[in-house]
Symmetry: C2
């Protein structure tokens, strides 16, 4: 399979600045795995035996709280690394990662990170740059949760999703994996009821079209207005 995906893989930002020979040497040490929808890629607290690169599909990263709440930390799109506990000096995964659709991933044994990082400094630099972005994102998330109302947070969440995994359709931009009201609620710290009410209202205003596990954003620009908190109260 390696040969088939090579051109795709070579274009990923993680491998920027890495020669094609080196790339082969890196990818050659990974095994390719298929993960069926709703199956875990890795699980919270579990020993971090591998780290992964998502080649195809979408993965949801979730943390569960002791009292039974679930919070979606982020969604992973093709080309992103996940489970890189080893690069951050951890021995267990900090969260659950679950395939939102059928996925294909590359998996490297965790102990390989150290040698890969020293042999391929660009790989290391690119990885830590991605970590920096993630840290930023997490802080942005904290800020949103601290200062915005539910309506703005949900709007922001949808905008993020279409930017990351949007697919053009004739109706608008579709989030191209199944996503329920409950899922959106877990991303934004609210309830599925409130999300449902919001989506209904937005649908009435022609902002979005949505159905069972399906959201299409018709007017991203107007959604952005809501996200920024400059919405005209109807």
């Amino acid at each position: 399979m390696a040969s088939l995906d090579r051109s795709l893989i070579a274009g990923l930002s993680i491998f920027e600045g890495i020669g094609s020979g080196d790339l082969d040497r890196i990818v050659g040490q990974a095994r390719s795995i298929r993960i069926a929808k709703d199956q875990p890629v890795f699980e919270q607290e579990q020993e971090a035996h591998s780290f992964f690169l998502l080649l195809d599909g979408h993965v949801r990263v979730i943390k569960s709280t002791p009292d039974g709440h679930e919070v979606t930390v982020r969604y992973i799109s093709p080309g992103e690394l996940m489970g890189i506990a080893s690069a951050l000096g951890r021995t267990t995964y900090p969260a659950n990662a679950i395939a939102a659709v059928d996925c294909v991933v590359l998996a490297w044994p965790s102990q390989l990170w150290a040698t890969l990082a020293t042999n391929f400094p660009s790989l290391s630099a690119n990885t830590y740059k991605a970590v920096g972005t993630r840290l930023q994102d997490a802080h942005t998330r904290v800020i949103e949760m601290s200062t915005e109302q539910v309506e703005q947070r949900v709007a922001h969440a949808l905008l993020k999703l279409i930017k990351q995994s949007g697919k053009k359709t004739e109706d608008g931009i579709l989030i191209d994996f199944p996503i329920s009201r409950q899922d959106v609620a877990e991303m934004t710290g609210t309830t599925l009821h409130t999300v449902s009410r919001l989506l209904s209202a937005w649908e009435d205003q022609g902002l979005v079209k949505s159905g069972r596990q399906r959201v299409v954003v018709v007017e991203p620009h107007r959604l952005l207005v809501i996200a920024e908190g400059r919405a005209a109260k109807s």
Copy 2:
């Protein structure tokens, strides 16, 4: 000054596994800077010319939103790195860092990171481990904001503060830098009014003692009960 602080510095977790000769070589390239209370260590969006190690004092890291809200990202205690944008492939600081009290920091030029990291792998590993912890903390924060009520969040914030910067007194554990109700509000995503009400209530119950820019936790254990959400409604 370097000689005076050497034993202190050698014990920091960032320098774990680094020989004393190497340590000198690393620290020798930093300059020591005093920063007066309320003065910035670095500022959001500003070119990241240096990265820092806090030797003494306490620093507040803040992000400002376009609409004038301020959110406290975290507090930094002695021994922690800050402003390590360069290690994460960024060229500007992502937030404001302000001295909560008079501080002493070591500062290295950002461009030095690359050579330090390659010459001293332990330094690099320790740093990224700290980054990993920070990422964890940020996610924990998101989860708290998503699932907990204000009362629990404030309780958690106080517990974090006393763990990080607590100082034993005869009354209880004092947060040993000036912290206002407003500051706590900015850590927990609420208003100074609500924080004030909570502290008043807790003071009545003998849980804390507080005054102007000052909080002493008298009964950490009972505060933890509140933080966990297992509090008996009075």
